[in-house]
Subunit: 251 residues, 2 copies
DNA sequence: ACAAAAGTGTTTGGCGTACACCCATGA
DNA sequence: TCATGGGTGTACGCCAAACACTTTTGT
């Protein structure tokens, strides 16, 4: 990837990158897709550069697709990070030597990169995390136990979560994070996990159904302890309509 | 400015710019500071480029200071615009010839610029709009009657206003937009203008005072028709505290 | 005296919070 | 049969929307 970018740097928007905070939900945990490269030996958000002839939104879609194999999912720009020092120690000399990079060209790398942050909501079970080459590991990690990240990626992650929490008051969430069929308690767990606090079962049911985006299925979850919860699905049309028109409430 | 940037382009972050939507309030009108250059003969948002060794936030502060003479005022990043075609027709050949720019160097200009949008709230009466050179006009224009703007600046302006409306539910507004002393009806007009709809006098008073950021002065506005309204000022400490901790309500 | 705008108080309905009870299932 | 979690209904309180009346000032 490093070498690739260097060889073709005229094809990329200079000094600009994209970083994606990809959220998934599994076993009542809100997870984030992280990438670990050997050089440096740290975790990072999946990111990429912006081709000269591509919208930055499209570049974000590309990053997402490259890492998850998914298309057409929820993706939203939330902030742009452009502090001078944000990536000053990113590429150590060791790395540059490793890549066989001349000091002249290295200048391109040492310069400040402004990065545009996007966050995505995906169905974790439908994704196939895709490493680029053998030096990479891609993993879903619980957002509560994220390790040290490179540069300001922790800050980016935090801002993404903060934005998601805000937007929870403006739109419904779950369509992209949950499987086709799900139960109300599962959806509630998702909300609780994002918000970081408990909600009342019964009030949650009333509020979430009042939005009018859920279809109660004539089916119950099987093989579960205790009373079998009802299965629901999203009414896609109404869901999208509400996402467009916005929601006016709070959690 | 054009020539200046070209001569020193190694000192600026390539392909990146800052655009500021500067809001002011005067005579019950929400106004925006716009710049008109002769080439092309159109209005634009005040903007600038980002020095290599300056945070993008700092660059936005610089633009604001350069145009209004103000420092330390409310300024917030709201979105980044990076469509490929957003500035493809910005600099016509006429302009490039006018500036004596070689086609080789012109390439720098024809390339896509990603721009980071900031919006600011300022006290219009304290500003001294400052044109750069004799080819520029800088003016406060009512946000309801903005003329055609260059490129996607109308889109940027709209997004700024949309963001401001959203943030009105999360924080109080007025400290930077109004003079030291003001009346409740004036503050209400400000809110109504931003939101684009009427509010109830009495409910507004109750809600705005309940926040606890206003100090009722022992003074009334003089020389006004009808009953003299009371003057208020903001309690700066409490105001800032609320801005930090956030507000949870709606208008 | 009258018009117009500011200041004060009251009623009402809806929504959010809290809680009690019943139902279904696996161990 | 008991523990656990899901499903349904209700009571309370607060806040926001709607509205009536009084007060003050300029003409």
């Amino acid at each position: 990837m490093l070498k690739n970018i260097l060889d073709n740097r005229d094809e990329y928007q200079p000094g600009l990158s994209i970083d994606c905070v990809i959220f998934g939900f599994h076993e009542n945990q809100l997870k984030v897709l992280l990438v670990k490269t050997k050089h440096p030996d740290k975790w990072a958000l999946p990111g990429g550069f912006v081709p000269i002839n591509e919208d930055i939104d499209q570049a974000a879609v590309s990053v997402l697709h490259a890492r998850t194999g998914l298309k057409g999912i929820f993706l939203r720009q939330f902030y742009t990070f452009g502090a001078v020092k944000r990536n000053e120690n990113h590429f150590s000399n060791r790395v540059l030597n490793f890549g066989g990079i001349l000091s002249e060209e290295g200048k391109w790398y040492f310069s400040r990169f402004v990065t545009v942050g996007y966050y995505a909501l995906v169905d974790l079970m439908q994704t196939i995390p895709q490493p680029e080459g053998k030096n990479e590991i891609v993993e879903w990690i619980d957002h509560n136990v994220v390790p040290d990240l490179i540069l300001d990626h922790k800050e980016i992650l935090d801002k993404a979560l903060e934005t998601l929490r805000m937007e929870l008051n403006l739109m419904p969430v779950g369509y992209n994070l949950l499987p086709e069929k799900f139960t109300i308690p599962e959806l509630q767990k998702l909300y609780e996990t994002i918000l970081g606090r408990k909600l009342d079962r019964r009030n949650f049911l009333r509020k979430i159904t009042a939005i009018g985006i859920l279809t109660k299925l004539d089916e119950k979850k099987s093989n579960v302890a205790h009373k079998a919860p009802n299965l629901y699905s999203f009414d896609r049309d109404k869901y999208n309509e509400v996402v467009r028109n916005g929601l006016h409430q709070g959690w």
